[in-house]
Symmetry: none
Subunit: 224 residues, 4 copies
DNA sequence: TATGAATGAGCGTTCATTCAT
DNA sequence: TATGAATGAACGCTCATTCAT
């Protein structure tokens, strides 16, 4: 009994991170408005007041949460390394497969999208940040590869070179599927990725049906 | 007096619909939890209590709202008529262009996605309904066209025939873009649609690059 | 039981006034910060929420309360009628006796001072209002009488003609006494007023000690 | 190291006093309820917990604060020395001028009044103490002078001899003025004191208008 | 002695919902 | 059918207080 009551753990350093993780789960599950600060605290095993020791208010907590998960994604994207010595086709494949890997394995990177759509109007800064730090740079990279591929003769010319965002379409669908149906409806990621890449490569290629069987996408441990 | 009463009657009969429209705007703007019943009422020009005359509670109102907008989409999809006498390629193009037309011109059909992601957990029935009435049937239709096209030799065999949902990827991206950035960031729909269809047709086609310039997508009056 | 529960009284018109009265009592007893909105509501016999039907927040309620009581005082002061046909001495006596009457009989007019001192920093507008609507005009009136009295030879010249606020000193002391000691310490108002006026008249008079016994001040029913 | 320790020691010894001073400023500015212990601590440059090392709780801190400032006043009043060899008129003048000097120069002695009115109900002991240690004895002294003056024939008989508190009226008005309007509205203390004493002396005197020009009151360095 | 992380009771405020009219 | 005054549960946030260090 005594020990119970005295269990006021002291760990200033780890607390913010713990709270941020808990907050992420709650915000993602209920949305900003329906999330109770107390539930977040409970998840961490502290009381309401503790949350306010580290965050000014619920909005600041949400903002920090969004930055926190955003960082994950930005970092992961930055770590997609493309070897300029390889063909543009390979670079494109690598980029997209890596992106699929991220999105398939990391639930956080998927839930970001939900936050974006659900709370973007209340937190426009969050949307801007993701546009500037994730979407725009990624599109630039993709566009670079496509344009280069046209120069080398690997890819045919088409409107795609000015619309690189289109490459994110299929992975987005997979993400949305995951967010909407969760564990309830099965989705064969590997075949889906294969279909996407196969379709894409054939769509972009200069030559007819090159025999480029799509490389296996990474297995998802995250239970998409 | 007569007109008065007639107006009143007409008013009464249309009330639920007016409320549903207002509710849609509010729910879409703020989300379920952050939406105030009073704001919905105000939009219609009635008082809070009136809303409760027609709807049991806020949840019922949301549910009805979701059904209401869903109906729009379901109906629109049902009206995509495909001529079996035309080529599979044309049928596919027609289907996708019609879908783009719907999604580009009708903000409601886009906002549904937001509701789905933001409130799907609270209203799983809504998600199921859309899966059953929109997504699944559409995928079946698409799959049918693809399979048929393979039989006729128009399309090559690929994983795509089992993953028809992939066709929705690019239009989904456009939708998400619209939902996230709204008027703030320009998006050239026509070229985007062209790029999508062009890429797709080349990706699916058996023969190299037949001269199938993508038909102009419908102009959007909706200001995506 | 049923009647109890159904006793949702409906009286939009009288509510604000009732609440203002209750708020006054609470604010005066506990101060702004320590007053609970719920206690105010309870005093009226409604619930917390009802208060917010009529007042935006606690500050607005305080402000309205202050205006409400202030009005009492301003009106009462305006109704002090001085007959210009009478001597300046009589006019001065009348004014002061009337003021004593107000302050002695009306607890509200006394408690205003408490609010002023206790909450003036938080509600500077309230202080300004009282200065402009009560203090300054009253001083002007008093100064007018004194100056006139000097012209007519009733009063001798002195610094007092430029410091009419000094006339409020003794009544202020009585007020403070009341606010501080309430029922606990006896205070003989009548003799106090007599002493004040007597001292004043002798202090102002040109001639020695004219036989001006101070008129009895009004009996206080308010239990100062 | 030595200086360090000495400083520390000195620091420790003076801590309660420092806290009391800080507490006074905060309580006076915000009132008891609205004052945050943390703000007091911050003023001293320590943390919240430290305050609780020296004071049991906020109430105890307030109580100590009130005693502390009260002591100032009590001591100052005790130091008003009256020469029994001088005339009663002079003694009365001396007393009042000294009191004006205290009140005009020492903000604390004025703010006490605010605490008294604002928090008197919560801390009745504070009020009693001031009554017993300041007000009552002062009135006794004043009454003594007046009665003596009547015996010596300096003062005429009047109700004032039983109502010595009236002498505090004008200085109270000055105090209230200061508390309410602070620096915002000018107040000419010297002329005000002159007017008060002049009026008083004429009011009390047996003989007509003795040529007793009021001695200059002490200049106020406190910026009333 | 001093700290500051943690607590939790408490209060202001909101808003879905009810119900008498 | 429509109103809107009233309700009261719920939640964000504050802050006095505690206590292990």
């Amino acid at each position: 009994m005594d020990t119970q009551k005295t269990q006021r753990t002291r760990r200033k350093e780890s607390r913010p991170g713990e709270i941020l993780d808990a907050a992420f789960e709650e915000f993602v599950e209920k949305g900003f408005a329906a999330t109770r600060v107390e539930d977040i605290a409970e998840r961490v095993g502290v009381t309401k007041g503790t949350v306010y020791v580290y965050f000014k208010d619920k909005e600041a907590l949400f903002d920090a949460t969004a930055r926190n998960v955003g960082q994950w994604l930005f970092t992961a994207m930055d770590q997609i390394h493309l070897d300029p010595a390889t063909s543009c086709r390979d670079q494109l494949l690598t980029f997209l497969k890596e992106f699929y890997r991220i999105v398939a394995n990391d639930r956080k990177s998927r839930e970001i999208l939900r936050l974006m759509l659900a709370e973007g109007r209340r937190f426009p800064g969050m949307v801007d940040r993701h546009y500037n730090e994730f979407f725009e740079p990624s599109c630039r990279r993709l566009q670079g590869i496509v344009k280069q591929g046209i120069l080398t003769g690997e890819f045919r010319e088409s409107n795609v070179q000015d619309m690189p965002e289109i490459f994110f379409g299929p992975s987005l669908l997979m993400t949305i599927w995951s967010l909407m149906f969760e564990e309830q409806r099965h989705f064969n990621i590997e075949r889906y990725v294969a279909a996407d890449l196969d379709l894409l490569m054939h769509g972009l290629a200069t030559r007819p049906a090159a025999s480029l069987e799509p490389i296996r996408p990474p297995s998802s441990q995250d239970g998409l």
